[in-house]
Symmetry: C3
Subunit: 213 residues, 3 copies
């Protein structure tokens, strides 16, 4: 179990490092700035999760393999981006993969520590989405998670799907793969068709022009 979580989590860190590096390159950061944003995006969610769960060591402090994958992800992003400039899709694809993989590891770790279902869902969403929130704060943007892109909602739904499958006694690999693919697919559908949850004041958006979009 622990091994599978690690495997998924390393893949997630690789995908999120790419997403972070692309964002930082768009902001014209220097190479080390690009690596730092990639690092923060990749480990931010899991780090907060591990700090929230008392008596759990922060994952990348004890396992340096993550750092190698993040460096690899950053280098891939740099090579990749120079060939595919002006395409913003890759950011969303890797972000979606990272969200899916990390959300599920967060839920699994919550279950391992015997937390209540609602806390497992919150830990999953934190693990999946907080790295991206940190990335956006560091580049001084309103976090993408709040921009009516159904971001956290999908992570929450994916976490609930995992808990449901788990309750119904599904086992691996279905138990893990289905919620991960659900989250990735949902994110891509949402971006493709530009779906958003209604703002609670949709009718007023034209009146007040002060909102930063």
């Amino acid at each position: 179990m622990e091994i599978i979580i690690n495997y998924i989590s390393i893949l997630g860190s690789f995908a999120l490092a790419i997403s972070g590096a692309i964002t930082a390159m768009d902001k014209r950061f220097d190479p080390f700035g690009v690596f730092i944003i990639a690092f923060v995006t990749a480990v931010g969610g899991g780090t907060l999760r591990d700090m929230l769960i008392n008596d759990r060591s922060v994952f990348w402090i004890t396992q340096t393999s993550y750092i190698h994958f993040i460096i690899a992800g950053t280098i891939c992003a740099i090579i990749f981006k120079s060939k595919l400039d002006h395409i913003t899709k890759p950011l969303f694809i890797f972000d979606a993969i990272g969200l899916g993989l990390y959300t599920i590891t967060g839920v699994q770790i919550g279950l391992e520590y015997g937390l209540a279902a609602v806390n497992c869902v919150i830990l999953g969403t934190i693990t999946g989405a907080f790295g991206g929130v940190l990335r956006d704060i560091l580049v001084n943007e309103v976090p993408i998670i709040f921009k009516r892109e159904v971001y956290a909602t999908i992570s929450i739904l994916g976490a609930i799907l995992y808990l449901t499958l788990n309750k119904l006694h599904f086992i691996n690999p279905i138990l893990q793969i289905v919620p991960v693919l659900f989250i990735i697919a949902m994110r891509l559908v949402v971006i493709r068709y530009n779906i958003s949850l209604p703002s609670l004041y949709a009718d007023e958006r034209k009146k007040k022009g002060t909102t930063r979009e």
Copy 2:
């Protein structure tokens, strides 16, 4: 003692959730974005406090009742706000209540862990004010705490008042209620009369127009 702290703390989380939800609705976030800001505002200060005190579990990880109160606060805010739009007062009232209740729980927990008085004051202020700081960072504003509104100052004074009453052997309910009411009343007075501490460069404010207000 522990029970009373919990009771106050839950009320504080309810008030701060409302304050967070109102801010997020003003920024036109989607419903889940509103909940996340409410959640972060409500638990941010206490979470940092619990992470700073080694060997203390994060309060909402072990007690899910907080999450229910935060959800209730968010729903109240949504219903409440739609009736009282364009009124910014509620934000300040609930923020003041949360600041008062949380500051005192922070000081009490510091005393429980045998920390020095200055650290109890800092923990109290972190517990009371950090959730609001996170709220403002997440919506990409300069935190309200820094906007010459005597915010942290009042929290610090309230914490010192609690420590003084404690030293003078006052007991509950006076020991708790007086500093909480002091903080709430001071905040409302400050907002009502628009009082602010002088900037250290008040005379220069017109010359340099670059400061973001």
Copy 3:
């Protein structure tokens, strides 16, 4: 060893408090706002380091002497700044001193906990640079560390220099003083001659005007 780390670390907190206070005064914060930014800048990096290392208490929670030095640093900055207004150099000098001293304590603590070299470097850079990142986030700026000023790079090089000297069996005071002076000197050279690492898209900067500089 522990005593020397504390000594260096207290000097670092003093220097970073001055750097934080100057930034906050430039932003016209009220006196308590100035102290809070000074505090966060001074303890932010070490606090994150201590929270990342499981079973290590946060340094300023157990040792209140830091808080006294931060208060002293804030008062010095207020007196100092009023005499030397319009001079931005002091900010960089104290920031450089803090970066140097804190980076090395971070590396030393990583070694003490038997972490891998790469993690010692990361902990050193976090200890040295994260306080400044928090300072910039709180005043709603893109962190200086990302502004092509070779900031993190120098911290990383200083950390590697320390690990190399340590491997070559150099002992104190050379082991500590050389990397600290290296970091401070490099930062001042970089600022003096306005050196920056190339952006990964330097040629494109004129085309896209959306980047906030």
